[in-house]
Structure formats: C-alpha cells, structure tokens
C-alpha cells in the first residue's frame, strides 16, 4: 500500500501539489485523472524519486520513500516517450534493470535470458529480443518499455500517460492488455492520464487531481454517478454545473430558479450538477410535469458516431451540453439559434454547497 501524506511541491511561488493525501491500495489498477498542468506528472516523479517533496511523506508498505534516491525505491516507471536505450537491443533493454541494478543484480546468463524471455512473452513480444529498438513500431516500443519495468518486479508501477503516444486502435488494445498484465502480476498500477474515458476504462479506482489535491478517489462507476464535489464532476466531462445562491428554498442561478434536492439555508452559495445524458429537450412550454427546467439557445451539434453531443448557451453565457444516444434518441429535431426548455428529473441533480 502506498500512502501519500500532506505532499506539497512548489515551483517558485506556485504550489503544483498542495498538501495532497492519497492512498494506492495493493493489487489495484488506479487511474489518476487530471488536466494538463494539474501536477499529475509531478506526483509520479515524486513517488519515483526523480524529485523530492517540499513537505509531506511518501510511505510504501510501511517504509518511508521520500529522501531515498530513485534507484533504491523499487518502483517501476513507464515513460510517456518510452525512454528506451537506443544503443541496446530489445533484449538488452529489458535485461538492463536485472543486470545493472545496484542490489540484487543477476549475473547468471541463463537466468537473465529466461527472465527476459518471460517478460517479453508477457507483453506479447516473443521472439523480438534481437531487434534493435529503432526497428520496432511505437506500440512495440511501449511493450518493451513495459517489459523492461515489469521484469524487475517493482512494488508499484507508475505509468505516465502510457497510451498518449499510440494511435487510437492500438490504444484500445493496450488498455485491455495493461489490465490483463496487471491482474496476472498482482502489483498495483498507478496510471496517469488526462482523458476521462481512459481513466474510467482502466481504473478499478479513479482519483481526480485538481488544485494540487485529490478531489475524489473512488471506484469508477461510483465516481461517474456520484462525484462528491464540483471539481470531480468537472473533470469527468459529463456533468453540467449551474452555480447560484439559495433564496427562498430554491437555487437562484443566472438561468433561473431551480428547486433544491435537499433544503439549504437562504444565502448559501451552491452548485447544481446534471449529467449530459440526463437532460431532455422540449419546446418551451411543453415541459412534462414534475421535471425541473431552464431555457437555453441551441448552438450546434457534434456527431460522434453512436452518440451526439448538443451544445446550448444559457442566457448568462454558460455552455450546457446534452448527450443523445443513437440507439435511444430522446431529443427532438433541433434548430440552430432557437431557444428550448432543458428539463431533468429532480432526482438526477446533485447539489454541492459552496461557491463555484
């Protein structure tokens, strides 16, 4: 189990990580979701030991890691750009850690060959050992980088946007394989990504990093359905947020008054979150009874294959998104520039106290 307690890392005056607490359980695939510049790579580099925190402690299996040099931490790091050694063959790349590590280096040639072959089998590169790293494709380089890390049997594997350099087809396949490989090895993976779909697909657990802290860490369906705070909801790219102040038992927002799912005191700032796929569209005045609603102008639609994303602009300028599934269409034919009533079931809305 990896525990991070109060990790702070400052660059100049700005804190990339600000008192971050986080736990990576054993034998779990954890995705770390964050926007670019949110400090997610910094967090990985702190765990691996390429940088040290300004404050806080990093504990792995009861042992303090911070202050130790990276080659004594026993943590695997898979780089986004793979960072393969260009002057060595695939086999020599994979053997590097076993052969040259400071403690527990393996001298026996036959054991080395066997373990390297086993690692290459694991990532599906059987027989590629003699190739030069310049002679293999991007997907194969990714696998070599993975094998090179896994063969040393690290206590935790960090993956820095491991699928970022692959094309879409390969990415989908590597997703499955990464999960399968991890399940065979029973070691925890901490996978950093900026893509919410990748984070939800990969992670048994997904952690959202925002403003230098973990906004929420939860099992992926749980996170998707019940984000605990606006920051988590925003990163999932699936929730519309409507900010306002409670007045007279309802939330007064720039788009109008919306009922509260639970009572709050007058004057409390709060935000209402409604998922993209839980908003329906109707002509103004034709809102079904029992539904909450507000009005917005239809801007344009984006056809994504099985789903269509429709963009609306509320009167205050807030962008509202609605997802429609092709197999189960809910939306009427929309006309650009026309105002519609966007309505949703009161149970679908989540309420967050606090200003936006």
């Amino acid at each position: 189990m990896l525990k991070l307690n109060g990790i702070t890392r400052r660059y100049g005056g700005t804190a990339a990580l600000d008192g971050l607490d986080f736990t990576v359980p054993d034998d779990t695939y954890v995705s770390l979701l964050g926007a670019s510049g949110s400090g997610k790579t910094t967090l990985l580099r702190l765990i691996a030991g390429f940088e040290e925190p300004d404050a806080g402690e990093i504990v792995l299996g009861g042992e303090r890691l911070d202050g130790k040099p990276p080659h004594r931490r026993d943590i695997g790091f898979v780089f986004q750009n793979f960072a393969l050694f260009p002057h060595l063959s695939v086999q020599e790349n994979v053997a590097f850690g076993l052969k040259h590590r400071e403690t527990g280096a393996i001298a026996s040639g036959s054991e080395l060959t066997d373990r390297v072959a086993a690692a290459l089998d694991l990532v599906g590169l059987t027989g590629f050992g003699h190739r030069g790293v310049g002679e293999i494709s991007g997907g194969q380089k990714q696998r070599v980088a993975l094998a090179r890390t896994l063969v040393t049997e690290p206590r935790l594997v960090l993956l820095d946007e491991p699928l970022g350099a692959l094309d879409a087809n390969l990415r989908a396949r590597m997703c499955d394989e990464l999960r399968a490989i991890r399940e065979r090895l029973k070691v925890s993976f901490l996978h950093v990504t900026g893509s919410e779909t990748e984070a939800l697909t990969m992670g048994d657990m997904v952690a959202v990093l925002a403003q230098g802290r973990i906004a929420q860490a939860a099992e992926s369906t749980m996170l998707f359905h019940q984000p605990q705070n606006p920051a988590a909801a925003r990163h999932l790219n699936a929730w519309n947020l409507l900010a306002g102040t409670v007045t007279g038992g309802a939330l007064q927002t720039p788009v109008g008054r919306l009922p509260l799912p639970r009572p709050l005191a007058d004057g409390t700032p709060a935000q209402l979150a409604v998922r993209f796929d839980q908003i329906d569209v109707a002509e103004p005045g034709a809102v079904p009874p029992g539904q909450d609603h507000f009005t917005a102008r239809y801007l344009t639609g984006e056809f994504n294959g099985p789903t269509t994303l429709s963009f609306f602009r509320a009167d205050d300028g807030e962008l509202i998104q609605v997802v429609d599934h092709m197999s189960n269409p809910r939306l009427p034919d929309l006309e650009e520039g026309k105002t519609y009533a966007l309505h949703f079931s009161p149970e679908a809305a989540l309420l967050y106290e606090g200003a936006a």
């Binding site: 691996a48 030991g49 260009p86």
Partner: protein
C-alpha cells in the same frame, strides 16, 4: 500490349515526379561542384605532386625531375627520421589521452549537469575564449609559466615544496605536451558535449528507476552514447597534433623533433624531395589513424 507499354513509358517520362528528381539531382551537383573543384585543385593534385616530387633527384641546392628512390632510402635508413616518427606517434597518443581525460569531464558537466541551454552555450563559448588570441601568443605564454624563473617554479619555491627550480617544465617534451593539450582540448570538449546533450533526460531517469547507480548509468548509457563525440573529437585532435610543428618549435628548445618540424626544416634548406617524403609518410599515418578511428564507431549509424 506493346503500344500500352510505350504509352506508359511516354507518360512517365515527363511526369512531375521525374522532373522533380531531375531538378533535385541538378541542384545537388551545383552544391557539390565548388567543393569538388576546390578539393581537386588544392588537395588531390598537390598530393599527387608531393608523391611525385618525393621521387625526384635531390642535389644540394636543387631538385631535378629525374626519378629515384634515393630520398626514400635515406629517410628509411636514418635513425633520426625513424625516431621522429616514434616521437610524433608518442606525443600524439599522450596528447590524445590528455585531451580526453581533461575534456571528457568538462563535456560531461556541460552536457549532462547543466540543464539550461543558454548556460550550456555560454560555457562552450567560454571554452573557446583562449582562441581569441593568436596561436603563437597562446603557446609562448607557457614560457613565463613553466620557465626556471616562471610562475610555477616561483610558487613552488615560495611554498617551500622545492629548493631548486624544476628544469623539466620548459624546453622539454613535457612543455610540448602541456601546450598541445591546452590548445587542442576544446576540440575534444565540443563534439562530446553535443553528443551528451542529446541524451534524453528521461533515459537517464529510466536507468535510475531500474536500479542503476550513477556510475553504472555513466558506463552503460552515457559513455556508449557519447562515443561518436569522442571519435569525432579524437579525429580533430589527431589530425591537428600529427601535423603539428609550431608548439614543438617554440616550447621544446629543439629537443623534440616531430615529422612536422622535419618538413619545415627541410623546406627551409630547399630539400624539396626529402620534405616530400616526410609529407607522404605523415599523410599515410594520418589516413591510417582516421581509418582506425572510424572503425571503432560506425558514425553513419549515429549521425
């Protein structure tokens, strides 16, 4: 069938791809021409001439184009000249090693430990500062440094480390080695720095993450990846040191005779045929050294 083939041939003859290829080829020739002409006129022809002249007949004050191997026989049978080859090779090896030993750590520091590109450039420029003065001044400046009443002897005597001035410092092989190492070191530093600076930082981090200590990373990653730089630097230094005469002339007190010094003195006394023999020998040695260096590392693969 035949007509179809002909049609296609006609169609491709003036195709944009063929025209583009032709234009590219003409442009390549135009870029190449000045260099080729220059090399033929001022290198290939003179080289052939030197080989030719080395077989001319040498009399006291003149050479005649009557072919003979006399100059070659005299060169090969003279211990003075054979030992000059030995001295040249010995000084070359020592200076090469010295520039490597002094230069590599500097290159490692600038290329690996200095992260800021601007500072890297500034440090490299600083290495070239000695070149802002003339070659002769740089060499002669070693005299007040190394002489019997020079700075080093004075300091050592003031500190009480020695009572008699060290005489081997100046007008000896030692001073020639010191002078050459100082002058040619920068040609080693430059290419190695460029190679080391090209090593991706994440590669070194990856090696550390895999458990390797600093020295292992240096030996297994940095050193092999910087080898092309070492070879290019070694070729620069070798070519310049093997043809050297000025440093030896001004710092050795005529005690060190390099092939370069022999050529200078023979030309000075109008022994053209004999100077040509020494010139050919020197060229053969330099060619052999470069061939050897290129064998060690496949530069084509690394560039």
């Amino acid at each position: 069938m035949t007509s179809v083939t002909t049609d296609m041939a006609v169609a491709t003859k003036d195709s944009p791809a063929v025209k583009r290829e032709g234009r590219d080829r003409r442009r390549a020739f135009m870029l190449l021409a000045p260099g080729v002409v220059w090399m033929i006129l001022f290198m290939v022809l003179p080289m052939l001439m030197v080989i030719y002249v080395s077989f001319w007949t040498q009399t006291t004050f003149a050479v005649e184009p009557t072919l003979t191997t006399a100059s070659w026989e005299r060169f090969m049978s003279s211990t003075t000249y054979i030992s000059a080859i030995g001295t040249t090779l010995r000084i070359w090896v020592i200076v090469l090693l010295a520039t490597l030993v002094v230069g590599y750590p500097v290159a490692l520091f600038i290329g690996l430990f200095v992260k800021n590109r601007t500072v890297q450039t500034a440090l490299l420029v600083a290495c070239v500062i000695p070149f802002w003065t003339s070659f002769l001044i740089r060499v002669i400046a070693w005299r007040p440094m190394l002489g019997t009443e020079g700075a080093i002897n004075l300091i050592l005597m003031k500190l009480g480390i020695i009572d008699q001035p060290l005489t081997f410092l100046l007008f000896s092989e030692f001073s020639v080695l010191v002078g050459m190492t100082q002058i040619y070191c920068v040609f080693m530093v430059g290419p190695i720095t460029f190679m080391i600076a090209r090593i991706d930082e994440s590669m070194i981090e990856a090696a550390r993450d895999l458990g390797a200590s600093f020295w292992t990373i240096f030996r297994r990653i940095v050193l092999p990846l910087s080898m092309p730089g070492v070879i290019v630097g070694a070729i620069f230094v070798s070519v310049m040191v093997l043809g050297e005469f000025a440093t030896a002339a001004s710092l050795s007190g005529r005690k060190v005779n390099l092939l370069g010094n022999i050529i200078v003195s023979q030309v000075g006394s109008l022994k053209w045929a004999f100077a040509a023999v020494a010139g050919v020998v020197l060229t053969v040695i330099i060619t052999a050294v470069i061939t050897l260096a290129l064998r060690v590392v496949d530069l084509r693969k690394e560039m």
